[in-house]
């Protein structure tokens, strides 16, 4: 008896719940796809084409009913998200949105890691770290805290310095103020030169660094000029066939691949040359002694010498650097990458050394 009563009570409760929820439930053939991070809902059900064909208020009513159902489903989902009261008990109810899942293209490509500047490489090697400087410095003269540089700096305005000491061993006739001004100009110029060099190095390393603004005065590299001239030559309506040549330009156009591709002899060409070549090949294959290619042997020997010299120089530098340097070096050496990176760095200086030895 009691069990029956309990069942009845439960059934009644369920009925009541269903009643309450009827106003917010929506029946759909296919479930919608939701991306709550974007407040997005995708309805795959085909809309009733028949009703929507005729223009007029009926169409609007149908569209509005469809929209109402979809929005109801989306809002139910949003209300199920974890929500809290922002700003205390009386604040508005705020729901935590998940990350958007719909993949959209980016605005700009992701930032590429840029190669370290010359100073950054050196600092990493030596283990030098940035020390945070205080923004204000105590000025004894003015007896107050002044900024480190800029307007009203701690040491006074250097442009209005009225005293310049003559250093020991300097020419007494020399104008010290002029010397100070000249040295500042030189420092600024050197700084700018180093910055542009870093930029050029980064561009050569191939990171996303703009190259075009690097040649403001027109001093472009030879390869770049050649490439541009070639492209300009071919950019006519007849693809460069009737373009007059410049005085020193080579007569036949150099190959686009720069001569790297393999070139094969024509099939029915010089029979005698082909015959002699095949016989020579047979002779080399049949001989007992290995054939010596002089140029390859010499190049191999030179490469070995260079590698040895570079290794010796590297070892010498390591012993000179001291404990800190060695510690830093060891950490860097463990990765495979650092080894590969070091190779091209060391080769250029040694190749310039042994440049005289080559033919």
């Amino acid at each position: 008896m009691a069990a029956l009563r309990v069942e009845e009570v439960l059934a009644a409760a369920e009925e009541q719940e269903a009643e309450k929820r009827r106003s917010v439930t929506v029946e759909k053939e296919l479930e919608l796809e939701f991306d709550l991070g974007n407040l997005l809902a995708l309805d795959r059900n085909p809309p009733p084409a028949a009703g929507l064909r005729g223009a007029g208020p009926r169409r609007e009513a149908l569209l509005r009913a469809l929209a109402r159902d979809n929005v109801q489903l989306l809002v139910s989902r949003l209300w199920e998200l974890p929500a809290e009261r922002a700003g205390g008990a009386g604040g508005p109810l705020v729901a935590q949105l998940p990350e958007p899942t719909f993949r959209l293209p980016r605005e700009k490509p992701p930032p590429r890691p840029r190669p370290p500047t010359r100073w950054e490489q050196f600092a990493r090697l030596k283990g030098i770290r940035r020390r945070k400087k205080t923004s204000l410095v105590w000025d004894e003269q003015a007896k107050e805290w002044r900024r480190r540089w800029g307007y009203r700096r701690a040491g006074g305005d250097p442009a209005r310095a009225w005293l310049a000491e003559v250093p020991e061993g300097a020419d007494p006739e020399e104008d010290q103020f002029a010397r100070l001004r000249r040295e500042k100009r030189e420092r600024v110029a050197r700084n700018e030169l180093n910055r542009l060099r870093n930029l050029a190095r980064a561009h050569r390393a191939g990171s996303a660094v703009p190259a075009a603004p690097l040649h403001p005065t027109g001093h472009q590299s030879r390869e770049e000029l050649g490439r541009v001239a070639r492209v300009a030559r071919v950019s006519t309506a007849s693809l460069g066939r009737f373009q007059p040549r410049l005085p020193k330009e080579p007569a036949e156009p150099p190959s686009r691949s720069g001569g790297k591709k393999r070139r094969f002899e024509p099939l029915l060409g010089n029979l005698a040359a082909e015959r002699s070549r095949q016989l020579e090949m047979l002779r080399d294959m049949g001989s007992k002694k290995p054939v010596l290619d002089i140029t390859r042997a010499v190049n191999k020997q030179l490469r070995q010498e260079e590698a040895e010299a570079a290794a010796a120089k590297g070892k010498k530098k390591q012993t000179q650097r001291g404990k800190r340097g060695r510690r830093q070096q060891r950490v860097g050496r463990s990765g495979k990458k650092s080894g590969a990176r070091r190779q091209p760095q060391q080769r250029p200086p040694s190749s310039s050394m042994s440049g005289g030895k080559r033919k």
């Binding site: 929005v71 949003l78 870093n198």
Partner: protein, 304 residues
Amino acid sequence: LIYCYRKPKTKRAKRFLEKREPKLKENTKNAMLIKGGNANLTVTEVLKDIYAVKKPFAVLYKKKNITRPFEDQTSLEFFSKKSDCSLFMFGSHNKKRPNNLIIGRMFDYHVLDMIELGIEKFVSLKDIKNSKCPEGTKPMLIFAGDVFDVNEEYRRLKSLLIDFFRGPTVPSIRLAGLEYVLHFTAVDGKIYMRSYKVLLKKSGCKIPRIELEEMGPSLDLVMRRTHLASDDHYKKSLKQPKALKPKKKKNISHDVFGTTYGRIHMQKQDLGKLQTRKMKGLRKRPAEKSAEDGGISPKKSKPT
């Protein structure tokens, strides 16, 4: 900014350049709304309404620009670079293509996708005399119609429209502030865009009942030409940097019932030297220790 050719001389200029450089987590996309050389009243009204919807992430150009986006994209790319906008909408009108609207997006200041839509019917914001929702509300987007998944061009259009109207990405949202919804229905070769204001009515349970009120621009569009990016170019633009991927938490697992299991790795312990609770009663009395008598059982200590 170290690799800028012209280093900025003021902090303000530096901030300006930093805002525009490529970042890991990107800014909200801005849209530029441009009138063509022969834009008519309808198209101008459409652009003005879309600007009202997309404020403050849009720029409306007042003057007419005589360009043809489908033939020459350099002018659009120049504008995009100057105003740092990656979305655009270009309106024009001629006899062959009346009430034309080209909607598109850029990647790295080069045109990625462009879709030309014809406006068949347009009801503007001021034609519908209702209360409007505040500027800058994040709209809810709903796409109805199976053709949005089946047809490739419609799929790109869906992605473009989401990108265009999405607004800033926020971590949390005020539930009472969900006021604006944009509903796109694709049927019979036409796309119906309707905007509604959402009214949350009381229902018996926690979830409110929704009533919609027509507000805002409503457009009947038909797809004309498209200029879509090739697949590999599109894939390149979708690529996200690895740093943005959420890091997996190690040593945590969940089972079917929702229980969370954690895993702790311990070092090897010498169980003889463990520090346990001292039970004084269990300690060997000195007399017992010397005798090493196994017969006498130690007293049981009461649990405290």
